[in-house]
Each structure stands twice: as structure tokens, then as C-alpha cells.
């Protein structure tokens, strides 16, 4: 018999709050808008420069310093990027790994966070201590590599998200979030006969939409931006991800230290184009999730 679940009311749409009236308040509002718009510009303009540079000729990039619109635009760089089989393939691979990886990581994190949010659970503190320990202590690159290798995960896509499946920081934050959810809901569900898993699945998760969205985003970005894992664990060049390319074209000769004298550095416009191709897809993920960040999503659930 299905336990009755208190209805969760629809998210309350934010009523447009009336103008407050005080002069100080209005000044604050204006300043706030101005400041935030400036912040928005400050953060988007350099990216526009990168985009503009990707459409420009190298000679122009050398000649002008910082610009927002190329004088002589060219599609040559993008044509090159998409004509090779490598980039589209890397794009597809990166998207695939990110989607699957994020699902796995979010699932594992939330699954572990819930039991740990129950204070009465025996052994909970010990487990938490062990988790916190791993936040600062780590065996290092080589032993982790050896473990991955011994599990047979070298050259598989699993190696791109399993070694980092649960971020202890995130785990703690999610756990804390669960702890703050009203106890009454869970209690009433249990009284009505729901199992722990049931409570988790039917009560906790739906209430966690903003948190789910947040950490889906964080994990997705983590996988997307990770270049160390593919570098260490992927041998087959047909399995390269986008970040391998970004590192290849943007790494400075300085940091490398010993560069082959025969090395011809990539065209500057190629650097920019690769960055754009590697960044735009993940950038679009956040606006996608933004609707889950509307206020008052949780409200109403306790009232019923």
C-alpha cells in the first residue's frame, strides 16, 4: 500500500514586491543595478574578446591589442576545427562522458549523503571523519593511477568520472542540506509505512531540486573541465576529450620548460577558437538549470 504523501504545493511565484519607498532604499537599488551591470560587463567582455579573436586573422590579433570585433572576420579557423574528424568526435565524447558521469556522481553523492544526514545512525561520525580526512590527505597521482590501472579502467571512459565520483566537499554540503529539511515530513512518511529508500526517493529528492541542480552543475563542470584524468588514463587518441585540445593549444611554452625547437606554436586564432568550442556547451548548461533556482521552491511543503 502506498503511503500517502503530503502534497507539495506548486512553487510560489514571486509576487512583484512593491516599491519600498524610502529614499535610501532607492539609492541602494540604483547603485546595486549599476554595480551588478558593471560586474556583468567585466566578466563577459573578455570572453567576447576571445570569441572575436577566434574569428580574426592572426596578423590582426598581433596588431591590435584588445578588441571586441574583428576588422576582417574569417571562418577559416572554425572551418579547420570542424573539418578534422577529431574535434566533433571529442565534443561528442566529452558531452557523453559529462552526462553519464554527472548522473553517476550525483547519484552516488546523494545516496551517500542521505544516510549520513541521519544523526542517529551508528558509525556516522566515524564515516564522516574518514570523509573529511580525504579532503586534505591524498595518496597522490601515482598511487591513484595504479589503482585505476589495476581495476582495468585504463583507456575506458569510466576512468574519466569514477576516480572523482564523490567530492567530499559536496558530500558534506548536501548532507547538511538534508539535515535542515523539516523532520516532520520524513516522520509522517515513516509512520505511514515508507521505507528509508522510499522516504529518500519520494520526499527528500523532490525537495532537493535546487541542490540537485547546483551539484549537477558543479559535477558536470568538474568533469567537463578535467584534463588530468584523460591525460593520465586515456591512451587511445580517438578517445580524447575537448580539454586535451585546450591544453595543447593554450599551454605556454614557458610552463612546459623544454619545448622542441621544431615546434611551431598554433595560430592565436586557433587558441581562441578551441577555447570557444570547449567552453560554450558547458556555459549553456547553467541558464538551463536556472529555472530551478527560483525562490520559494521548498515552501508550501510543510504547510500541507
Amino acid at each position: 500500500m502506498r503511503p500517502p504523501i503530503p502534497a507539495i504545493t506548486a512553487p510560489v511565484t514571486r509576487r512583484k514586491l512593491n516599491h519600498y519607498g524610502s529614499a535610501g532604499s532607492r539609492v541602494f537599488d540604483t547603485l546595486n543595478v549599476v554595480l551588478l551591470i558593471m560586474l556583468g560587463l567585466l566578466t563577459i567582455l573578455p570572453f567576447i574578446f576571445v570569441i572575436a579573436g577566434s574569428f580574426a586573422h592572426d596578423a590582426e590579433i598581433s596588431q591590435r591589442g584588445f578588441f571586441l570585433w574583428p576588422e576582417a572576420a574569417t571562418l577559416e579557423t572554425y572551418r579547420f576545427v570542424f573539418s578534422t574528424p577529431v574535434f566533433p568526435r571529442a565534443l561528442a565524447i566529452t558531452i557523453g562522458v559529462t552526462v553519464v558521469g554527472t548522473l553517476v556522481q550525483v547519484l552516488m553523492t546523494f545516496l551517500m549523503a542521505y544516510p549520513l544526514s541521519r544523526r542517529a545512525l551508528p558509525g556516522r561520525n566515524m564515516i564522516l571523519n574518514l570523509v573529511i580526512f580525504t579532503m586534505v590527505f591524498s595518496g597522490g597521482m601515482i598511487p591513484t593511477f595504479l589503482v585505476v590501472r589495476d581495476l582495468g579502467l585504463i583507456d575506458t571512459y569510466f576512468a574519466l568520472f569514477l576516480p572523482l565520483a564523490i567530492n567530499p566537499f559536496y558530500l558534506i554540503i548536501v548532507k547538511n542540506f538534508f539535515q535542515e529539511l523539516p523532520e516532520e515530513l520524513q516522520e509522517s512518511a515513516r509512520i505511514d509505512g515508507a521505507t528509508e529508500v522510499g522516504v529518500f526517493w519520494r520526499i527528500i529528492l523532490p525537495l532537493s531540486k535546487p541542490i540537485l541542480a547546483t551539484f549537477a552543475l558543479f559535477y558536470a563542470v568538474g568533469i567537463w573541465n578535467d584534463y588530468m584524468s584523460p591525460l593520465l588514463y586515456i591512451n587511445d587518441s580517438t578517445k580524447w576529450t575537448l580539454q586535451m585540445f585546450v591544453r595543447q593549444v593554450t599551454i605556454s611554452a614557458e610552463a612546459l620548460g623544454n619545448l622542441d625547437p621544431n615546434y611551431v606554436p598554433p595560430a592565436q586564432s586557433l587558441k581562441f577558437a578551441v577555447i570557444v568550442v570547449a567552453t560554450l556547451p558547458i556555459l549553456m548548461f547553467y541558464p538551463f538549470l536556472q529555472k530551478h533556482f527560483t525562490k520559494g521552491m521548498l515552501i508550501g511543503s510543510v504547510k500541507g
Partner: protein
């Protein structure tokens, strides 16, 4: 499969004298929770704890080819080298100063911006700003450094020109040690603030808009509304983030510093991570950097538990 019901107080509560049975019953009581823990625990066991033996190379002169069993043991040699090196006090000082600046400036910035965004009434501005401020997070440090050189460089740097005319003398942002820390903090702010607001904005979604309405009706000013409604909503998130920051206090980020460091500002720029890099591209690389990492981690764990204890004293739940 019958569904075990977990109801209120157990009707068949066991007497305390039968302890052994009680433990097992407890485990049984929570068995679904333990089951849910299995994947997570497996993960930590395999990917976090199994490789932990790697820490031991801090006490060896590790050579990858010789492996963990083949590399010679040197005890505390690397730690001695670290602490007795003539540069250590300077490195420690630089790292601590940068850490302090991060705590005072880079940490609160996303909180403030999140609060400001929360106060915005105009939806389209809010959405637009939210969509752009996190973009810098995606640009790697190489690009950030490149942009910094472009804008703050001596010759064509537009910002240098403006600053020089404002201050009346030629400013050399990139070479002058006095400007190094401000530039680093500026870069960190630019790159990290937008991204940092996300977690706080998520926390703010838990606030009932009706509370504001009610407060307004009661005559509360905007400031009081923020103080009594908004801030408490993110307080626990801020505390957790602060504790977590404490654990990584000495991490300054290698790449960012290394790209901005040069011969003229090295005296203020050199921090643990870059120092280790220079020491590390020579013999004893892995062992030395692991030793330093161990040192940082030891301090980090003390700070984490210390900060957590502090948070508990102030009535917050901290990490537990």
C-alpha cells in the same frame, strides 16, 4: 518481499541489558541506510584510501621506476630541507599573507554579490548578470594570465595607461612587487566570484518570499529584512564553506601564481606551491612535493577541526 515498516518508537524495545542483541537490531533497523552507503563507502575505500600509501614517499627518495618498495628511505630529510631552507620563512610568509587576503576578500565576495543579486528587483538584469558572471570560471589560468598581460602590461596596456595618468607616474603592474598581490586577488575575484555565488543563491531559494512581505508589513527596513531573513538563510552555508576553506588555507593555486611570477616580483610571489615546483623539477621531485603536501594537509586538518569546533561553539552545526 515484505516491506519492513519503520514506524515510531519500537513496540518491542529491547532491554538495555541485552546489549549485543541491541547492536544488531540497531543495524537491522537502519539496514536500508547502510545499503545506501555501500556505493559511497566502496568509492572512498577504493579511490581514496587504497592510494593513501602514496603518502609514504614523503619519507623516501622516491623514483617512479624503483617504485614504493625499491626507493630508498630517508626519514625526515625532506621536511628538514623544507624547514631549514633559507627561503622557508619568506615562502611561509607569502603563503600566509595571500591566504589571509583570500579569507578577507575572495571568500566574502561571492556572498556579498549573491546578496546583492538577491536584492535586485529587475528580473532581466538579474538573469543577465547571473548568466555572465560565472563565465570566467571556465577560462583556464593561462588565458587569464594572457588577458592580464594584455590589459596590465607596460606597453599597450590600457589599464596601465589609465593608472599611470591617475597616479602621475609610470606604473609597472607586472614587475612591481607591490602590485603582485592586488593583481592576484583581482584575478581570483574575477574568476571565482561569479561561480561562488551559485551555492549561496541556491541556499537563498529556500527563503519564503512571504516572510519579506510579512516583515515589510511589520515595518521592517530593508536592512533589517536582510539581517533577520536573508542572512540567517545562508548562515549555515557560509559556515560550512568557511570551514572547508580553512582546510585548504595554504593552497594558493600553482598555475595562477606561476604565470604571474617573474624575476622582479619573486620575493613576494613565491609561495609553497611554486617553491615546490622549482624544487620539484630536480631530484627528489615527488618525495619533496609529497612531503610539502603532507605538511599542508596536516595543518589543514587541524584547521578544519578547529574551525568546526569554533562553529559549534557559536551554535552552528558545522560539518557534523
Amino acid at each position: 518481499m515484505s516491506t519492513p515498516t519503520i514506524s515510531g518508537p519500537r513496540k518491542d524495545a529491547v532491554a538495555p541489558s541485552q546489549r549485543k542483541v541491541s547492536v544488531l537490531t540497531k543495524l537491522n533497523h537502519y539496514k536500508w541506510l547502510y545499503l545506501m552507503l555501500i556505493p559511497g563507502i566502496a568509492y572512498f575505500a577504493v579511490f581514496k584510501y587504497a592510494p593513501m600509501y602514496g603518502i609514504t614517499i614523503a619519507f623516501q627518495d622516491y623514483l617512479p621506476f624503483l617504485g614504493y618498495s625499491g626507493s630508498p628511505w630517508v626519514g625526515f630529510k625532506h621536511f628538514q630541507a623544507l624547514f631549514s631552507g633559507p627561503d622557508f620563512p619568506r615562502i611561509m610568509g607569502n603563503t600566509l599573507i595571500l591566504a589571509a587576503l583570500h579569507v578577507l576578500i575572495t571568500f566574502p565576495a561571492p556572498i556579498i554579490v549573491a546578496l546583492l543579486l538577491n536584492e535586485l528587483r529587475i528580473e532581466w538584469v538579474k538573469r543577465a548578470v547571473q548568466s555572465s558572471i560565472y563565465i570566467p570560471h571556465f577560462l583556464g589560468w593561462t588565458i587569464v594570465a594572457s588577458l592580464t598581460f594584455l590589459l596590465f602590461g607596460l606597453d599597450p596596456g590600457p589599464i596601465t595607461k589609465v593608472a599611470s595618468s591617475l597616479l602621475g607616474h609610470q606604473v609597472d603592474f607586472l614587475a612591481d612587487p607591490a602590485w603582485f598581490r592586488p593583481l592576484i586577488i583581482l584575478q581570483s575575484l574575477w574568476k571565482g566570484t561569479g561561480w561562488g555565488t551559485i551555492i549561496y543563491l541556491a541556499a537563498l531559494t529556500g527563503v519564503d518570499p512571504n516572510l519579506y512581505e510579512a516583515a515589510r508589513i511589520d515595518g521592517a527596513s530593508r536592512w533589517r529584512q536582510m539581517w533577520h531573513i536573508t542572512l540567517p538563510a545562508i548562515r549555515s552555508t557560509v559556515v560550512v564553506m568557511a570551514i572547508l576553506l580553512a582546510g585548504n588555507l595554504l593552497d594558493t593555486g600553482f598555475e595562477q601564481i606561476y604565470l604571474m611570477m617573474n624575476s622582479l616580483n619573486r620575493s613576494v610571489a613565491d609561495v609553497f606551491d611554486t617553491y615546490v615546483y622549482i624544487m620539484g623539477i630536480t631530484q627528489g621531485a615527488f618525495s619533496y612535493s609529497t612531503a610539502v603536501g603532507l605538511f599542508k594537509a596536516a595543518i589543514g586538518i587541524v584547521l578544519i577541526f578547529g574551525a568546526n569546533w569554533l562553529a559549534r561553539k557559536f551554535g552552528q552545526s558545522g560539518l557534523f
